[in-house]
Amino acid sequence: MSAQVTTSVATEPERLRRRPRHLGRFVLPTYSWLVIAYLVFPIVVMIVYSFNRVTSGLQLVSFAWNGFTFQWYREWSNIPGLTSAFWLSIRLALVSTVIATVLGTMLAIALVRYRGKRFRGRTGFEQILFLNIAAPEIVMGASLLGLFVTFNVTRGFFTLVLAHVMFSIAYVTVTVRARLSGFDVALDEAAYDLGATPWGTFRLVTLPLILPGVLAGALMAFALSIDDFVTSNFVSGTSAPFPVWVYGASRVGTPPQVFVFGTVIFTLGIVFALSSLVVSKKKV
């Protein structure tokens, strides 16, 4: 009898809980897919226009659809300025990613492992990292330009690396820290107790465990660097990376090869992201 009373009480909220289902089953998914379609739409347009024929004498992307062609993929490297800007961006992203990943990972380890009296100034670091991520990029770019002008530093590849590492460190640190905070310090202590050197402990115990976080941070730094326009525009001088070159060219007219580069980078990025998703699922 009493058991029956309990079940009848339990079914009431059960019924209420079931009510939102139609929302989750139909309205929200439809809406969400529409939002995703909106996010993807310009990318589809970019890919489609990278196959658009050009009828006018000037080889610039036109708004009208003139027919399908592979011409721009065959002639992807026909614009020397664009190609060299692209390779400059790749070099820049590689160099700044390596530096930012090493420095950011070290900082993340310090922030997670050492708290309170063991690491004075930790709070200050946290605040600088947040400010670095939240500050408007134009302020960072402009103030860097002020620094380089004040100390007469010639702007070029070197200043670009300085700037890109500066805005990437915080993102790497935040990403690695997220991975580290679920990490058992006792594993390190065990390695120490078994006579491992600090470097040995790091190389054989800590690093393998945080490696997914470090790689995610490195990927983030690479993406930030290769896409950066605002800061680069301030500190690049005469050596324009890919986004700065594209922006400058677009004020006159966009060559179709820009969309070819965009399409190729997008495809590589999405394939990488989805395959890492599949790999991480298999591991679990």
Binding site: P13, L16, P20, G24, L28, Y31, S32, V35, L39, F41, P42, I43, V45, M46, Y49, V61, A64, L103, G104, M106, L107, A110, R118, F119, G121, F125, E126, L129, F130, A134, A135, P136, E137, I138, V139, M140, A142, S143, G146, L147, T150, V165, M166, I169, A170, D227, F229, V230, F234, V246, Y247, T254, F259, G262, I265, F266, G269, I270, L274, L277
Partner: protein
Amino acid sequence: MNLPDRRRSRARGLAPYLLSLPAGTWLLVLFIVPLFIMLSITLKTCSPASGACVMTWQWGELPHVVNQYRAQFVTSLVFAALATVIDLVISFPIAYWIAFYGGRRKNFFLIMLLVPFFVSFIIRTLVWEFILSNNGVVLTFLKGHHLMPSSFHVLGTGLAVVAGLAYNYLPFTALPLYVALERIDRRVLNAAYDLYANRRVAFMRVILPLTIPGIFAAFLLTFIPAFGDYVNQEILGGTANTMIGTVIQNLFLIDSDYAGGASLSAVLLAVSLVGIWLYAKLLGSRTIQDYL
């Protein structure tokens, strides 16, 4: 404690400082010091003729410049606020859906939210210029079906700028909202249902209050970059509706008016700091890092 032990513990006492030294130096020299240099430039007075600046310890340029570009500040404020509100409205339901109904496909949907980031910011904005142009896909279609007067145009108006800002910063809004919603303890929600809350009450009194820090973080992470943005305005807005970012960029890179540019940047920075300070004051500074 024997000798090697003590030496080891001293080395480990230094460890946090040694580990944070390189990143700290980099950020100090290339982030903090430049900000102070910029602030010091605002204290200088520059002669417009020679471009030479003398330290006068007065905010000579600041009120003058702020006054001069008041309209651009207002435009930036309105555009950024509109774009942020649009983004919050668009992304809340999808963040909610992924957090509560995403199931095993959560990561896939998160990648879909981040899809715009796989295309360069400049190219994304250029494509929107294409889409919104008079011969572009959208307007040609709408005008072809007589859904819109043929004189109607979007490009070169504030509407295009707000649309571009809203598109480009949408993931910055959606992700913090997702993090906040994802973190809500399902047991709390079930408790609300067990206590006979209906769906609306549970949403208004449990989900929404628990999401407020996320909404605020999303607001900051969208509004601050949108406020300083000038790419969307320059590509989509034409010469009208100049935003403050455009002015700063022109003062620095075209007019070489460093004092003016620095003063405006300082105001921009101050606006962002006030936002962050408000967040820390109202919701505590510890939670803000959770949304990065």
